[in-house]
Symmetry: C2
Subunit: 237 residues, 2 copies
DNA sequence: ACAAAAGTGTTATCCTTACACCCATGC
DNA sequence: GCATGGGTGTAAGGATAACACTTTTGT
């Protein structure tokens, strides 16, 4: 079918899946390679793109095949094409990144020969190929993006407290702790959160539960009121 | 050499080159296709990736071959891989975008069969493949990026006045005109500009000429003082 | 002298920051 | 009643927006 007479590289997709469970660090989903090269070593989930398959679809398919994780937010990150990055020949990889809440998408047993597991972002094992570099880029992108897009909501359960949201920001950005009062004021001022209830059975004053209001977010972006948003999410302290 | 037994798509690079000449609109560098498909139609410069060539190198090589433009700032944009985007088969294109000042990189005669020319961004001809979509994405990215990175300096000559810089921002963002006083205060406060002289032979008070101080910019980014920067570049008015 | 663009002073207002304090719940 | 987080009041200082004004050059 293809009529070009040029040599063709192989094309793969890889997925950097960030997970959050409310704790002190972000988690990363890795698989242990079942075959050569790098057999037995940990790597990003991913694989070859089918000939009639969109890239993002391909990434989601490989992710589900190798880890069981599905129905998640995924986005293209960067394409790595340096000659020599794969010992077997020219392989160009379209890297993606994805965000999940570990509660909604519980640890998934691997399907076939490969094993899958979650690792703390600051305690990663040695990685196959150039995957360490891909993860570095994904982490930088996540930190940058969290400042001007309410992307972090993918990492939380449907309903969450402002305290949980603040802890998430602190974890993602790796900063010590910022001022509670000001965090609340900024976030609530945007109007992208809506109340959905109240905590129960907690050993302290029950917090209000919020949900991300996507409609109101889109309206803000469209109305060019996005400055409000950017300022509100752009935490320094 | 490659040992994978999967079918392989073709891989190309395309480059969206934005040019600025101090005028009211941004320009875009296009080539007229010499062969099928889409023969005679306008398209982005680009072509097939060589087997032992990095993607960015490939983009710069194709750009120079087809338009003569070289030695410019280029960056990866997004990878387009939808099946059917090329009538001849599966072709995945790694799109890049680049910024040039038209004064420094004068209109370049095309080398071989293809013709190259600059078009106003708001008066583009009909485009081959999915190139119109690629350009849309590049434009959105440029507008977004100009707000938190001093990327616009690539579009100006070495030395420029604050008035020219302001006109550039107004052009890129497509806003009417913002307040001169406040623009100056914000930009100068960052310290990323340094004086390099003064205009001569102009029919009005000569403006101070400035140059982008990259060292100081890097220092700001590293020092996490980047909030200063972001706020300074994030124009709303 | 005039046009044209550069460059400055100033103020009211809003936003950010910082710190102290009160509230509701389970044990 | 104490520990634990949730939630609020507020005031000082800094940044922003808006407007009017002065300056310097070529013609």
């Amino acid at each position: 079918m293809p009529t070009y007479k040029h040599p063709r590289p192989s094309v793969t997709v890889d997925v950097v899946v960030f997970g959050y469970d409310g704790g002190q660090t972000l988690k990363l989903l890795l698989i242990q390679r079942g075959g050569e090269p790098f057999k037995g070593q940990w790597a990003l989930p991913g694989g070859f793109v089918d000939m009639d398959e969109d890239l993002e679809v391909s990434a989601l398919r490989e992710l589900e095949e190798e880890t069981g994780v599905k129905d998640i937010y995924v986005e293209q990150l960067y394409t790595f094409g340096q000659p020599g990055r794969d010992p077997r020949g020219r392989v160009i990889s379209v890297a993606h990144y994805a965000l999940v809440n570990l509660g909604n998408h519980p640890t998934n047993a691997a399907s076939d020969a490969t094993r899958a597991d979650w690792f703390s972002l600051d305690e990663l094992p040695e990685l196959a190929f150039d995957h360490a570099g891909i993860i570095d880029l994904a982490t930088a992108r996540l930190r940058a993006k969290v400042r001007y897009q309410p992307i972090g909501f993918e990492l939380l359960p449907e309903a969450f407290t402002l305290g949980e949201l603040q802890r998430l920001y602190e974890t993602v950005l790796g900063v010590p702790e910022f001022n509670k009062r000001n965090f609340r004021t900024r976030i609530l001022k945007t109007g992208i959160l809506e109340e959905v209830g109240k905590q129960e059975n907690v050993a302290h004053r029950p917090a209000l539960l919020y949900r991300f209001n996507e409609a109101r977010y889109r309206k803000l972006v469209d109305e060019r009121d996005s400055a409000v948003l950017r300022r509100a999410l752009d935490f320094e302290l």
